[in-house]
């Protein structure tokens, strides 16, 4: 019949669903089925046992072919390039456990690296805005139980966080929201018509690149002051209406994503959205929350926060922690040829960075730690496969609302495949030797 493992935590996105059920074969070696997950989560589990999965590290040869190497050789190469580099970039950290992140942080401290995570191309601007104006927020259960006004700004949860609306933000019948979706008014702000905007009560089809102006207009509207006839392509009547909708609720929440973090102004858009939320708290209760992407980018920011003081773009090269996105951010470092080695773990910059940055990675001594073959692994000198966190090894992860949940191990990794933590520990030991620590 096969056994079913319950309470499984999905290691894909920041929604961090922890109600998955995974059906295993009788001998516990095969994943047969995944229940409750969205299509993306289910695929992560089911695909983890693909027959063409890479099982051993491999090094890229001069002619572009790949040659299998042992984990020992992989450890040696990795430790050497990190120890020899004057300014290595250790990037990624978003699809792995806090335990692995901590070992990595120790290596970064020893070699004087710049540590960066996927926030650098994702919610980094949200972190910058948090640093400039703070953030009134809450856990997702507060949304489930209290929120009656839900605004999705610059994000498309139906596609990017498929179970968000059913677990937290629109459909759940919570303690004070017993009527589920009927308890809530939904507004979507997006230049596009999307599957999320189709579900909204109001879709403000904003002129692309003018979110900051529209947010300012909302703040003006809250104060009952005059507005120009049209702001960001939205007529002022609709702006006053939206302001009134948000003010008249008992609990308004704004969820936001790349539509505002990476359009013109970046952190300023988030800053202004946070200001909108702050202002709303003078009239009612309001919160704002970033739709974090990778399932543990938040954790990476937490670990570095308590160990060093900064959540991303962390420059340890001078022996003490420094931070300034624009200088210490991965893409700026690569663009300016400011790093001399690249180590990637738990993310895919090859797919997410500008191609000009990826070309730089291709020229440098580089390592990619990833179970999959990816655009990143394609340009690195060394590719090391590891176990999947949340499937083949457990470990702590932080949800988009910063709630930590311990992911579970459901099956063993393939024979001889190391976990991130194990590989990093060996690298750490070897770096200690090379540095004479």
């Amino acid at each position: 019949m096969g056994k079913i493992v319950t309470d499984v935590v999905c290691p894909f996105c920041g929604t961090l669903c922890d109600d998955l059920e995974v059906k295993l074969s009788d001998d516990g070696k095969e994943i047969l089925e995944v229940y409750n997950a969205c299509a993306i989560g289910a695929t992560k589990f089911l695909h983890s046992q693909a027959s063409d999965r890479l099982l051993r590290p491999r090094m890229q040869q001069d002619d572009g072919t790949w040659k299998e190497v042992s984990y020992d050789e992989a450890v040696e190469y990795t430790a050497r390039i990190l120890a020899d580099a004057k300014k290595p970039l250790m990037y990624g950290w978003s699809s792995t456990s806090c335990e692995a992140q901590e070992v990595g942080a120790g290596i970064g401290e020893m070699v004087g690296a710049v540590m960066d995570n996927t926030a650098t191309v994702c919610h980094g601007p949200s972190l910058i805005a948090l640093q400039d104006v703070g953030m009134p927020s809450c856990t997702l259960g507060e949304i489930k139980n209290r929120a009656d006004r839900v605004l999705f700004w610059g994000c498309n949860p139906v596609h990017a966080h498929p179970r968000h609306m059913s677990r937290y933000s629109i459909f759940p019948r919570g303690f004070f929201t017993g009527k589920g979706s009927k308890s809530r008014k939904v507004i979507v702000v997006d230049p596009r018509c999307t599957d999320s905007s189709k579900m909204a009560d109001v879709h403000l089809q904003i002129q692309q690149g003018h979110d900051y102006e529209l947010l300012d207009a909302l703040r003006v509207a809250f104060k009952g002051k005059e507005l120009p006839d049209v702001v960001a392509g939205i007529p002022k009547e609709k702006i006053y209406e939206a302001a009134e909708t948000l003010k008249s609720g008992r609990f308004s929440v704004i969820f936001f994503g790349m539509g505002v973090t990476h359009s013109l102004g970046k952190n300023h858009n988030i800053d202004e959205a946070i200001a909108v939320t702050r202002d709303l708290n003078d009239y009612t209760k309001a919160a704002i929350m970033p739709m974090r992407g990778h399932y543990n980018v938040t954790g990476s920011g937490q670990v570095w926060g308590w160990q060093f003081g900064f959540p991303f773009c962390l420059d340890l090269s001078r022996g003490f922690a420094r931070y300034n996105p624009g200088e210490t951010s991965s893409n700026d470092l690569l663009r300016r040829d400011e790093v001399d080695a690249v180590f990637v773990l738990g993310s895919d910059p090859g797919a997410h960075f500008p191609i000009s940055s990826v070309k730089k990675i291709a020229k440098l001594p580089s390592v990619c730690i990833d179970p999959h073959i990816t655009p990143t692994s394609a340009v690195c000198k060394l590719h090391v496969p590891v176990a999947f966190v949340g499937i083949e090894v457990g470990g702590c992860a932080y949800r988009m609302d910063n709630v930590p949940i311990e992911t579970r191990k459901v099956i063993d990794p393939p024979e001889g495949v190391l976990t991130d933590e194990e590989f990093l520990s060996r690298v750490s030991d070897r770096v200690k030797e090379l540095k004479g620590v």
Binding site: A85, K86, K87, V111, G112, I128, Q131, D132, H210, Y212, E213, D216, A217, L218, R219, V220, F222, K223, K225, E226, L227, P228, V231, L264, G265, H268, D271, E272, A275, D279, S317, R318, G319, Y323, N324, P325, G326, E327, R336, D337, E338, V339, D340
Partner: protein, 266 residues
Amino acid sequence: MSTVTLTPTQVPELYLEADNITPDHFAGKSAEEIAALNVYMGNATYKLGDYFDVEGEAAETAEETKIVVKGDVSRVKYIGMKMSAGEVIVESPADMYMGAWMLGGKMTVNGDVDAFAGLGMTGGELTINGNAGDYLGAAYRGDWRGMQGGTIRVSGDAGSDIGTFMRGGTIIVGGNVDVHVGTHQEGGTIIVKGDAKTRVGGQMVKGEIYVFGDIEVMMPGFQQREDVEIEVDGESGSFALFEGDMGERHPTRKGVTTFGKLYMKY
């Protein structure tokens, strides 16, 4: 004034961090001692003398010390950082953080500079005869106290995010600027002689911004008041006065509310 001349002898492989190149650090030192000061490249430490020829000698005090940098420092950061007195002249384009956290004295760069020039400045004069990058005279991340005093003058264009969280002092840009001028400004004066794009005076609490050229899109929080005839940085003209940002908080004293002022030249 006693002058120390630094001539770069090689282009660094990565970037040099030269926070020791200030009159304060050079004061009282001979050329040999100056050459023995540290410069940093990533996690490696070198001597200034490894990358520069050092000639001349410093005065006893920073105030009497002048530094001239002659040569390619396009990959050298932090020159003039935290200087409190004296003079620094950089003869060609330089990298980031020129005159960052400057307290006093005079710094001139005859060339373009990269981002973060004059970051967190509290006094002194910073002159860029060229273009400036982003975050000119801005606040350090998270600091609600931006530039507090001093003057920054850029002959050419500047990038985005100039004067964020500004509290005092003056920034004058001779050319055009990119988005986000005076965001969160709460004092001080920003003058843009060319064109601005968008987000001028966003979230402004107090202070003054003058734009001589065009603004592509006005912030909705600004309301037109009146026209005024004034002189700005030596140029007289008619300006339309706007007040705002109406979305933001503004201080009220004895019943009078002070807004941010945005002047647009006719």
